[in-house]
């Protein structure tokens, strides 16, 4: 049996009929067609599927889509587009923080959530904030540098 679902996805209304067992991840990728959110482990371990749900960083593979009824979801597509990158996206691009790129959407959202609550994080907070996001390529050094740069860019942008 399918149920109507409507939620705010990156500022637009996303609506469809979904089954109770459909995850928010599947809804975002297969119904809304936004494939920036990655399907990795589907078990809460990798953070590839991380999105912001009402501003909070969550693993979308562990949330039933119907549980997000009426809520606001931000995916990597909602941060910026290739012509208008968000400061966090620019910082990652400038730092060469991405290799295969699979983890990067989750990293960008984890960074966005971190800088929203802590504009000037130290390295320990940065490492803690991305500890639910696994990167199989980079060894994290450049990612941490990118997040430091992102904090600076956001800061400069406001002044």
């Amino acid at each position: 049996m399918k149920h109507p679902l409507s939620l705010n996805l990156n500022g637009d209304m996303a609506e469809n009929l979904v089954e109770a067992r459909t995850s928010l991840l599947t809804f975002i990728r297969e119904s809304a067609g936004l494939t920036g959110t990655k399907r990795g482990c589907e078990e809460g371990e990798c953070g590839g599927c991380a999105v912001l749900l009402d501003g909070r960083l969550v693993d979308s593979c562990l949330i039933l889509a119907l549980e997000a009824q009426g809520k606001t979801v931000t995916t990597v597509e909602g941060l910026g587009d290739p012509h208008h990158l968000s400061p966090v996206q620019s910082a990652f691009a400038e730092s060469g923080a991405s290799q295969c790129g699979f983890c990067i959407p989750g990293m960008l959202l984890a960074t966005t959530a971190l800088l929203d609550r802590e504009p000037d994080p130290d390295e320990a907070s940065i490492r803690e904030a991305i500890s639910g996001n696994l990167c199989r390529c980079t060894g994290y050094t450049r990612i941490v540098k990118a997040i430091q740069l992102a904090a600076k860019l956001k800061h400069d942008g406001q002044n």
């Binding site: 067992r21 693993d59 562990l62």
Partner: protein, 346 residues
């Protein structure tokens, strides 16, 4: 390989009465809180309920309130909230500590206290995809008839692996429950049982069918006391405990390290979280290296790791003593160097 979940019907009751009525109407229904355990289990077809009752729309289960000499914590309070709550950090720092090292940050923002208390027991033959389990002829706990961990027995050794229950056992917390048959209060120490199939279920004193955890009431211990939580895991960033220990001490004389009362509880080593019995005899004694060695032996008699994780049980057993030493060194000022010296002589 991921199979789709078995189809189920999702209910989103607006209040506790409606939730409990639904649970009464649909036997076998499962509550869904943060979903960080249940959704994984649904996907692996370890959980196959026909009805799922989501608690997300219910108000009033997410509060931390001071009630006289106790803190009452709602079942939907998340690990992230517990770890950062000023009152919890000030009055029950060991609980904030344990909640703050559950999984990683994405999970902690979703994971609730209620779900943590009745987390399904874990085992390397059980927490696998349907495909994997099928290829392995399943196991006694789900869909099979033999337990590969102990093939000749008829017992399930799956380990109860949540981080906050040992702390709450040491603190002597009480659960406030409600269900289709009415409400009741159960001391956490009478709640769990010792078979991995139903250590949180009715057969052992745990939840009755359809019962819902509303709040956890924690009496604030008499000052001055200190408590810590030690956890061993594979990856410090995200993993379940391979072993966990809560230790708390009330001092008769803190500078002389003279104990008034000492409590220990273990997790992830047995099918249930357990108080370590026999610590009463330490009252009046100094917490010195000899006492620590005795406490390690005592804890070692309670924790019984089996081949339920990819880590060797011998390693987890050895870690019990290590956790006791680390906890004691954190609790007793100046004890750390004495322990190190003893280790060097040994």
């Amino acid at each position: 390989m991921t199979y789709p979940m078995r189809p189920f019907e999702l209910h989103r009751p607006a209040d506790v009465a409606e939730a409990v009525a639904l649970a009464g109407e649909y036997p076998g229904a499962q509550y869904l809180a943060g979903g960080t355990d249940l959704v994984v289990n649904l996907r692996r077809r370890i959980a196959e309920p026909d009805h799922v009752i989501a608690l997300g729309a219910i108000e009033g289960l997410g509060e931390v309130t001071r009630e006289g000499n106790a803190l009452a914590i709602g079942a939907r309070v998340t690990m992230a909230e517990l770890a950062a709550h000023p009152e919890v950090m000030a009055r029950l720092p060991m609980l904030a500590e344990a909640a703050g090292i559950v999984a990683g940050p994405t999970i902690r923002g979703m994971a609730t206290l209620g779900g943590n208390l009745v987390l399904d027991t874990r085992c390397r033959y059980y927490n696998q995809s349907f495909f994997w389990r099928q290829a392995n002829d399943f196991c006694l706990k789900k869909d099979g008839s033999v337990c590969p961990v102990a093939p000749r027995g008829s017992f399930c050794w799956a380990a109860f692996s949540a981080d906050t229950p040992p702390v709450l056992l040491a603190l002597d917390a009480v659960l406030e429950l409600t269900g289709p048959k009415g409400g009741r209060k159960v001391p956490l120490r009478n709640f769990y049982g010792n078979d991995g199939r139903w250590s949180i279920g009715e057969a052992d004193g745990g939840l009755l069918p359809g019962e819902l955890i509303l709040r956890v009431r924690i009496p604030l211990p008499q000052a001055p006391w200190h408590g810590v939580y030690e956890k061993v895991r594979v990856r410090g960033s995200i993993d379940y405990p391979l072993a966990g220990l809560a230790m708390m001490v009330r001092w008769k004389d803190e500078t002389a390290r003279e104990i008034a009362e000492l409590r220990m509880a273990l997790t992830a080593l047995n099918p249930q979280p357990m108080m370590v019995p026999g610590t009463e005899v330490f009252s009046g004694r100094e917490l010195d290296p000899d006492a620590v060695a005795e406490l390690s032996r005592l804890a070692g008699r309670t924790g019984k790791p089996m081949r339920t994780t990819v880590s060797d049980p011998a390693y987890r057993r050895a870690m019990i003593a290590t956790m006791v030493e680390k906890a004691a060194a954190r609790l007793a000022p100046g004890l750390g160097p004495a322990l190190l010296q003893q280790a060097r002589w040994a």
